[in-house]
């Protein structure tokens, strides 16, 4: 009996090892989705999921290529971390949509499908390449071989979002300039309006100009616009190529520190006529972002730094009597560059300009995937995306917003469209060798420091932050460039 058990156990173990080895040595690639049906995986963030289901349904109706609603659409919150492994070791996903896809090296290694044929396909009487926003087109191309490997996902817009209900109720004007913004903050502060008069006296607070949180990088969306106003988009495009350390030298035209100083002058506590002013809700730099967003929705603050996903993200919590969101164009700062007619330039930072749509090279449904992307790039389908995300725009050209249902075309969605179509867009995505090799970042130094919080709490000064950065860059630039050129070749 004992011998039989031993024999059986040995055989069972041998079988399990054989099967494990067989599966482990199997071909990389999809296994669960049937041929000629697509599986799309997307980052499940502020854009919601409704757009994917709607587009998939319409695509299936039009082309007969199946995207199963249950298994073909895969919203994921961890996709960004999963993609490198999926590209290297195989996946059953045919299309990935995500922010922060590190695609340049996987594309070089052949793990991502080249999209040159897709970009040449017909779309709305033009080519797909013609449909992509010009300022995003080159970002889709790998500079080393000139091939396209990604489509831009969204044309994001951010900055200051204001609560129109409060503005209308108290007669506040949307500021067009930095000075008007300062004046508006002073007006709101002086008004001393109770945000929650029904609360016990000890808990009552006045309406404040700004609600924000310890996730301070949302301020970037406003401050980057001010930077571009001061320096011009062309100069920032030059900075992205990192020709020398001088592009970070304020004495040689680098204006980001000036933009940050304008922010610090406005937002950090300061004296006005001998009175200490803090235009932010109490302890803003230490608050959880959800707490700050709840306060903004409840009318405790007039403005909030954020971006195009805010309304979609918070739609279930918005009480229209308390809050209606509108994105304001960045107020024009003193010293802003002007256009040929002498008007201050209108610029807008492309939030998520590096967001990507890619097809893994191991997909067995590449052609179907390309069909889906071509379908998505059509204006009517881009509008469908905008409709179902309440204002988020794809990185393609829109002539107008006609056809989007009134239910979805909120004031916020219109304001995002207005900012996007009337501004020169720019982003900070770069394929400079030093950026690809993680030696340098283009905006703040990659030091894990929350600069806005430090400045707000007077723990440092703008001069100190940028002097230290410039010293660091000047000391290391040659070495960083040499190290990076060894990896990616001389630029």
């Amino acid at each position: 009996m004992k011998k039989k058990i031993l024999k059986f156990g040995t055989m069972l173990l041998a079988l399990s090892f054989t099967l494990t080895a067989a599966f482990a040595c199997g071909r990389k690639g999809p296994s669960t989705v049937a041929p000629h049906s697509l599986k799309i995986t997307f980052y499940d963030g502020g854009y919601g999921q409704a757009w994917a289901y709607k587009l998939a349904e319409k695509f299936t109706q039009e082309t007969g290529i199946v995207i199963y609603q249950e298994t073909g659409i895969n919203p994921s919150k961890t996709i960004t971390d999963d993609i490198p492994n999926a590209l290297a070791n195989g996946t059953d996903t045919d299309i990935f949509f995500s922010h922060n896809i590190i695609w340049e090296v996987p594309a070089s290694k052949g793990q991502i499908e080249p999209l040159d044929d897709l970009f040449a396909m017909e779309c709305d009487g033009k080519t797909v390449a013609d449909r992509v926003l010009p300022e995003l087109l080159d970002d889709c191309k790998l500079k080393f071989n000139g091939s396209y490997y990604k489509l831009p996902w969204t044309n994001g817009a951010g900055g200051l979002i204001y609560n129109k209900v409060l503005f209308d109720k108290y007669g506040w004007e949307v500021p067009g300039t930095y000075e008007e913004l300062v004046e508006l903050c002073e007006t709101i502060e002086n008004a001393g309006i109770l945000a929650n008069p029904e609360a016990p006296r000890a808990e009552q607070v006045n309406i404040k100009p700004f609600a924000w949180s310890s996730e301070c990088y949302y301020w970037d969306y406003l401050v980057f616009d001010w930077w571009a106003q001061l320096e011009g988009v062309d100069s920032i495009e030059n900075l992205k190529k990192l020709p020398s350390a001088d592009v970070f030298d304020p004495a040689k035209g680098y204006k980001f520190p000036e933009a940050v100083q304008l922010w610090a002058d406005l937002v950090a506590p300061h004296e006005v006529n001998g009175v200490l002013r803090d235009y932010s809700m109490k302890d803003s730099s230490g608050r959880h972002y959800q707490a700050a967003q709840i306060d903004f929705l409840n009318g405790f603050a007039a403005m909030m730094p954020n971006a195009q996903w805010l309304e979609s993200e918070m739609r279930d919590n918005i009480d229209p009597e308390k809050c209606e969101m509108v994105l304001m164009p960045a107020p024009v700062v003193p010293g802003a560059k002007t256009d040929s007619e002498g008007n201050p330039i209108r610029v807008n930072y492309q939030v998520g300009g590096g967001d990507s749509i890619i097809i893994p090279a191991c997909s067995v449904n590449k052609e179907e995937a390309k069909q889906f992307l071509r379908f998505m790039m059509k204006e009517e389908n881009a509008k469908l995306f905008t409709e179902r995300t309440q204002g988020v725009m794809l990185g393609v050209k829109y002539d107008n917003l006609d056809g989007i249902g009134d239910r979805y075309l909120t004031k916020f969605a219109r304001s995002v469209f207005e900012v996007n179509t009337h501004s020169k867009k720019f982003n900070l995505y770069s394929q400079a060798n030093m950026v690809l090799n993680n030696k340098i970042t283009l905006e703040w130094a990659d030091t894990g420091v929350n600069h806005y919080a430090e400045l707000y709490n007077k723990a440092t000064t703008v001069d100190a932050v940028f002097s230290a950065r410039l010293t660091d860059i000047k000391a290391n630039f040659a070495q960083w460039k040499s190290d990076s050129d060894k990896v990616f070749g001389a630029e």
Binding site: T10, N100, I102, V105, S214, E215, A291, G448, N450
Partner: protein, 314 residues
């Protein structure tokens, strides 16, 4: 001699092919696991620190690793003088201090009280352990909200006494101290569980004897309990030492984004997440160099702690 020679030596029984096969197959999985997930991974990681990825050269795809000597280590060594690296290492060392000199003593004392069946001991045991079974995302959010300027219970409580609450998370190093506080709160239960287990194994006779001798609790605690659970304390202490390299989720969940509260592990994680793999050799070298530097200290402390009390079997 005759008698001895008369003893028949038992002939070793040859194992059957099934017995041998069974042993080999049973060992195959752990050995393969060790080779693949420890041996190869670590060998490969160490090798990478002496290499550089060459992706493109002169417009041609190269896509291979080449020998780089000590370049990565030199870059890491240069980086140690940077203020942010010093802060990251300082933040990480803080976890060792908090784990071993605050959390561990608290856990030992709490375990002893629980063992002594203080009132509500069972209830306290659940309360201590509760944070350990709640997902860290939920726990971190709840923790943050307790200190919110408008919603927070703590601020509300302080306000009753007219005390103006500070910015708990808004400014460094307050934010870092709050993460340490979180670690004490959330980590206490795990240590209490380990130490309670160790204390409950102690022979009851010893406590009866100490009771008959009229030994006060303090003396009993230091003369009986501590020496007898010393191996468990040593293990927990060593785990606390390794927290210098392991803490990542707590700062990531409590202070997302750049908040000056990065640790060594979080820096490595962030770098791997956001950088091309060409940048990884330097990141691995950073972790490896720090581990090598710390190893003698950890081994010395282990050796020293094992010498304090003799190991007792009971």
């Amino acid at each position: 001699m005759e008698g001895i020679s008369a003893v028949k030596r038992k002939k070793p029984r040859h194992k059957s092919i099934y017995e041998t096969g069974f042993i080999i197959l049973m060992l195959a999985y752990p050995v393969a696991h060790f080779i693949v997930f420890w041996g190869i991974v670590n060998f490969n990681s160490i090798l990478r620190t002496f290499q550089r990825y060459v992706m493109w050269q002169d417009g041609k795809l190269v896509n291979s690793w080449v020998w780089a000597g000590l370049d990565n280590y030199k870059n890491v060594w240069t980086g140690f003088s940077r203020a942010d690296t010093k802060r990251i290492i300082g933040n990480s060392l803080g976890y060792m201090v908090v784990s071993n000199f605050i959390s561990l003593p608290l856990a030992i004392i709490s375990s002893y009280f629980l063992f002594k069946k203080m009132p509500f001991a069972k209830w306290f045991r659940v309360i201590f352990f509760l944070p350990s079974i709640i997902p860290i995302v939920v726990l971190a959010t709840v923790f943050r909200f307790q200190f919110d300027a408008r919603f927070g219970l703590v601020n509300g409580f302080l306000n009753i006494f007219g005390i103006e609450s500070p910015s708990w998370f808004g400014v460094y190093p307050n934010s870092q101290r709050m993460i340490y506080l979180y670690c004490i709160w959330a980590g206490l239960g795990f240590n209490v569980l380990l130490l309670s287990g160790a204390i409950s194994r102690l022979p009851v006779d010893l406590f009866e004897y100490s009771h008959l001798e009229g030994m006060p609790y303090v003396k009993e605690f230091f003369r009986i309990v501590i020496p007898l659970i010393w191996p468990t304390i040593t293990t927990t202490f060593l785990l606390g030492l390794t927290s210098v390299f392991g803490v990542m989720l707590q700062p990531m969940m409590i202070m997302p984004g750049d908040a000056n509260t990065q640790t060594i592990a979080l820096k490595i994680y962030n770098s791997v997440r956001t950088a091309n793999e060409t940048a990884r050799p330097e990141i691995i070298a950073f972790g490896l160099l720090l581990s090598v530097m710390a190893m003698p200290f950890i081994l010395a402390i282990k050796f020293g702690m094992e010498k304090i009390y003799a190991d007792v079997e009971f």
